[in-house]
């Protein structure tokens, strides 16, 4: 027994130890890239897990904590990030943090007019420390231990062993052959050699060159000065700008407060087709749920009939649309619905002549119909499956009782089946509504939001739903991406979906009340 206890605890300690070690690794790894906050989440999480697993008192939490942690990382954090982004100007030209932008600007250098090019020989000592012998501008410079100093070309420390005129050794340093120089290029590249008030840096594989920094940053005044022209650049909306309007790229993210939200409401560019898109999103989600449920329930009732032969086969066939990846089937539908090349119109034309050609994806009304029909094909098997399950849970005595009471086919369906089905299925229907509200895949792959609406203030299409409209908005901005603005729309969609979910929970509660009375 003792033995078993020891093994169990040893395993536990090894696993927890590994977890903590990984967490520390993640912390250091992300921290080294400046992402301290996401990095800090790892050791905090690991510490929490260790505490819970090592404490007997917290035993029940063991089963909850992993889920809660994943919820934080995968749900809460992205929502929070989107929320924060919606108050910034993040987007093309403003992707970096201020520190990153300044760092990149300060790295820029130029070759001054009196720049000297140096050929070089690289050395390394047994522990791998680099030393360089630079030769140019009539001088020989030895750079070792971080210090550059003039030496004579015939300095006695330099030993030329093979007599090729190039030194091979000095002190404990040995000359690196070219392949090893290439291997260590990264370290050589990072060197900034200070020599007589100038900076010498690697320019190409073959030479070093005098470089002068082009910009200087003044942290107190928060300005950048061009050292060549002495022009001072001030930060304007997240980009350093000179008084006459010249900008230094890249810009950086800045806090913009409610600007994105105000723009959504007041800017006619953005709000123009918004109402139309908003309305269609509701219409589309509602009709989709009703249609899919109706067809799903109908097929479920048919397939639930014990007298039907080959029931299993039909059931399998009916589930096929649900089992195939929608990414592929939507594209297949897109091809089939093509006005001239699609098989549907080809059949129609073959049967009824060229007048029967339907502009499935080209005309606003037909495109909306196509979206609903394709979504019906994609979505009814799900409804059928859940309805089949729910149907089987309705006790057959209820139908017998109804029959005894003289209820016909319709009476049984509408007085017994429907109410008893809706009770367990209502939350799923609301879930399906919320899913279709944000069904970007379907719209983007089938119609890309098209056909375009004539006279819209911004590019928008007749089948665009809020999320596909947001996508266009985000990626067709003034200079490319307007991620901050898109984040603001996402937050608004989130509020709508959250409201629907709240109603969902309410209704679930209400139905529970109802079921108690049955």
């Amino acid at each position: 027994m003792v033995w078993k206890y020891v093994v169990k605890n040893a395993v536990k300690i090894v696993l927890l130890g590994t977890l903590c070690a990984v967490a520390v690794y993640v912390f250091v790894f992300l921290g080294a890239k400046g992402m301290w906050i996401p990095g800090a989440m790892a050791p905090i999480g690991a510490g929490l897990i260790s505490y819970i697993f090592l404490s007997q008192k917290r035993y029940p939490l063991r089963w909850l904590v992993p889920g809660l942690l994943f919820l934080t990382v995968m749900v809460v954090y992205p929502i929070g990030y989107t929320f924060v982004s919606s108050f910034t100007n993040v987007g093309t030209g403003h992707m970096l943090s201020k520190d990153q932008a300044i760092h990149q600007i300060l790295e820029r250098s130029y070759a001054p007019t009196d720049a000297v090019s140096y050929s070089y020989v690289a050395f390394a000592d047994p522990s791998g420390n680099l030393a360089l012998l630079l030769d140019g501008g009539g001088r020989t410079i030895l750079y070792v231990g971080g210090v550059a100093s003039d030496i004579q070309p015939d300095d006695p420390r330099l030993v030329d062993e093979d007599g090729d005129g190039q030194p091979d050794r000095f002190d404990s340093y040995v000359r690196l052959p070219t392949p090893e120089v290439v291997q260590r290029l990264h370290d050589i590249e990072a060197l900034r050699i200070e020599y007589r008030g100038t900076i010498i840096a690697l320019e190409s594989l073959a030479e070093f060159q005098t470089r002068s920094p082009q910009y200087a940053y003044d942290p107190n005044a928060n300005t950048i000065t061009d050292l060549r022209t002495a022009v001072v650049y001030f930060p304007v909306d997240g980009i350093f700008t000179s008084p006459n309007g010249d900008e230094i790229y890249p810009g950086y993210k800045v806090w913009k407060g409610l600007v994105n939200y105000v723009k959504l409401i007041t800017d006619r560019q953005v709000s123009g087709p918004f109402v139309q898109v908003f309305f269609w999103t509701f219409v589309y989600s509602t009709i989709t749920v009703i249609l899919n449920f109706a067809l799903g329930l109908f097929t479920a009732i048919l397939l639930n009939d014990p007298h039907l032969r080959l029931r299993t086969l039909y059931r399998i066939l009916a589930v096929v649309p649900y089992a195939l990846p929608a990414f592929i089937t939507i594209l297949v539908w897109r091809g089939m619905l093509n006005e001239h090349f699609g098989v549907i119109n080809q059949i129609l034309v073959a049967l009824f002549g060229s007048g029967a050609r339907i502009p499935w994806l080209q005309n606003a009304m037909w495109a909306k119909t196509s979206v609903l029909l394709v979504n019906l094909w994609l979505g009814f098997p799900y409804m059928m499956l859940i309805a089949l399950g729910a149907l089987q849970s309705i006790p057959s005595e209820l139908y017998e009782a109804a029959r005894v009471d003289g209820a016909g086919w319709w009476g049984r369906f509408h007085k017994v089946t429907l109410p008893l089905l809706l009770m367990p299925l209502a939350p799923l229907l609301i879930g399906s509504y919320a899913f279709n509200f944000n069904n970007f895949t379907l719209i983007y792959l089938l119609t890309q939001g098209g056909p375009p609406i004539a006279g819209a203030m911004t590019p928008a299409g007749a089948t665009d739903i809020l999320i596909s409209y947001t996508f266009n908005l985000a990626f067709a901005g003034e200079h490319g991406n307007q991620l901050g603005l898109a984040a603001a729309v996402s937050v608004m969609i989130f509020v709508i979906i959250a409201t629907i979910s709240a109603i969902n929970f309410r209704m679930t509660g209400a139905l529970e009340e109802l079921s108690k009375n049955v």
């Binding site: 300690i13 090894v14 927890l16 130890g17 590994t18 903590c20 070690a21 520390v24 690794y25 250091v28 790894f29 080294a32 890239k33 260790s50 090592l54 093309t92 030209g93 992707m95 970096l96 990153q100 932008a101 990149q104 392949p179 290439v182 291997q183 290029l185 990264h186 590249e189 690697l202 190409s204 594989l205 790229y249 810009g251 560019q269 091809g335 093509n338 006005e339 001239h340 090349f341 699609g342 060229s354 994806l361 080209q362 005309n363 098209g450 056909p451 375009p452 004539a454 819209a456 203030m457 590019p459 299409g461 266009n472 990626f475 067709a476 901005g477 003034e478 200079h479 490319g480 991406n481």
Partner: protein, 398 residues
């Protein structure tokens, strides 16, 4: 004891960190699906010559810019990426790529148009390797002779078209501004005009000038005449051509691999003059750029300057993509190649694809206008005016 064990394990992993966090001394290249295989081959020679490992990662062309914007600053990006010159505006604005300094002798070996395409201000931001543009591609069994004028082309097309039988004379993939631009440009349409200094002015939008609208009216007439049809996208047009059901299309070098595979006899020529005016196509240049977040910039420079700028490497890149090399010594070796001559003739009066970041605001509205024309939902002049006004508003132009 427990604490000691945990601390020890942590230390062991920390030691491992030093070995994996930095990718110093190894080159990472991002290339799209058509270029990744050839880069893997080409990179082997580089590894053999310099002893430096090269990893090629396949990134879809359309995703590269977005992924670079997130991966680059996080230190996960590539050292080198392959892309089109019209990405320059966005990439430079985001501080994602580095200038590259070539010697005058190296620059002299490139097509000047290609070098110009990768210049931003007075700095070069990419080593060009191929130019690409559209031209008229004919099925020479159906259309043996190059039509002398666009009007002749339409007559020939009309004769070949039988929509119910799935036979087409001439198709332009729609709604697609890139392929439709020649119709607009023949009469003087343009996207952005140039100011007095020759710099593109994002507020001088020429999509609704007389020439552009003339092109839109021509497209509208082609639809009304039953030549051009709605719903003809890239796969539909090339599919019809490769099945031998299409006489002529406007297409680029990227269509050729499938055309050859299908065994279609084809000819490539400039799009014939419309009402006496030669159409001007967009010219794009593909090239190698160096990430501003590369930890191996000197090595990356070595790769793009000393290694890539070699005739046999540039030829190897051509063979995979069919795109005419921008490196003149390689192009000279292909002087007898009819495909390259056809596309080059079409590019002779071409317009470089605008590379300013404002170009991103143009596509959606323009696509919308072409869609409305092809779907016969709006008259061409109104559609182009509305699209141009949308773009002006988006760019905050008066």
């Amino acid at each position: 004891m427990k604490r000691v064990a945990i601390a020890l394990l942590g230390l062991v992993l920390l030691a491992g960190l030093a070995a994996t966090a930095s990718e110093a001394g190894k080159l990472l290249i991002w290339a799209d699906d058509t270029r990744a295989p050839i880069m893997i081959e080409v990179a082997k020679d580089f590894t053999a010559a310099y002893g430096v490992e090269v990893e090629v990662q396949e990134i879809a062309s359309g995703d590269t810019r977005g992924q670079l914007a997130t991966a680059g600053p996080a230190g996960e990006g590539p050292d080198i990426l392959i892309g089109a010159h019209d990405w320059l505006g966005e990439l430079i604005l985001n501080g994602l790529i580095e200038p590259i300094i070539l010697t005058p002798a190296q620059i002299g070996n490139f097509d000047p148009v290609a070098i110009d395409a990768f210049m931003w201000g007075n700095l070069l931001y990419g080593v060009p390797y191929a130019t690409e543009n559209v031209a008229l591609i004919r099925n020479t069994d159906l259309v043996p002779d190059v039509p002398a004028t666009f009007e002749d082309l339409l007559t020939v097309a009309k004769g070949l078209t039988d929509l119910d039988a799935g036979k087409y004379g001439f198709l332009i993939q729609e709604p697609d501004p890139y392929h439709t631009f020649p119709l607009h440009s023949a009469g003087g349409g343009y996207v952005f005009g140039k100011d007095a200094n020759g710099v593109l002015n994002p507020c001088d939008i020429g999509l609704d000038n007389a020439g552009s609208i003339a092109g839109a009216i021509l497209l509208d007439q082609m639809v009304k005449d039953g030549i051009e049809i709605a719903g003809a996208g890239y796969s539909e047009v090339t599919g019809a051509f490769n099945a031998g059901n299409l006489g002529m299309m406007i297409g680029g070098p990227w269509t050729l691999a499938d055309v050859k595979a299908a065994g279609i006899n084809y000819g490539i020529s400039p799009i014939p003059p419309i009402a006496g005016n030669a159409p001007r196509v967009f010219v794009g240049v593909q090239g190698f750029m160096i990430s501003a977040f590369s930890e191996n910039k000197v090595l990356a420079n070595l790769f793009v300057k000393d290694f890539l700028i070699q005739t046999d490497v540039m030829l190897a890149l051509y063979i995979q993509g069919d795109r005419p090399p921008a490196y003149l010594p390689a192009l000279a070796l292909l002087a007898g190649n009819e495909d390259i001559q056809g596309f080059a003739a079409s590019a002779a009066n071409g317009i470089p694809m605008p590379k300013i970041a404002e170009m991103a605001s143009v596509w959606d509205s323009w696509i919308g206008a072409l869609g409305l024309i092809v779907n016969q939902e709006q008259d061409p002049a109104t559609a182009m005016h509305e699209a141009a006004d949308e773009i002006r508003a988006l760019l905050n132009c008066p």
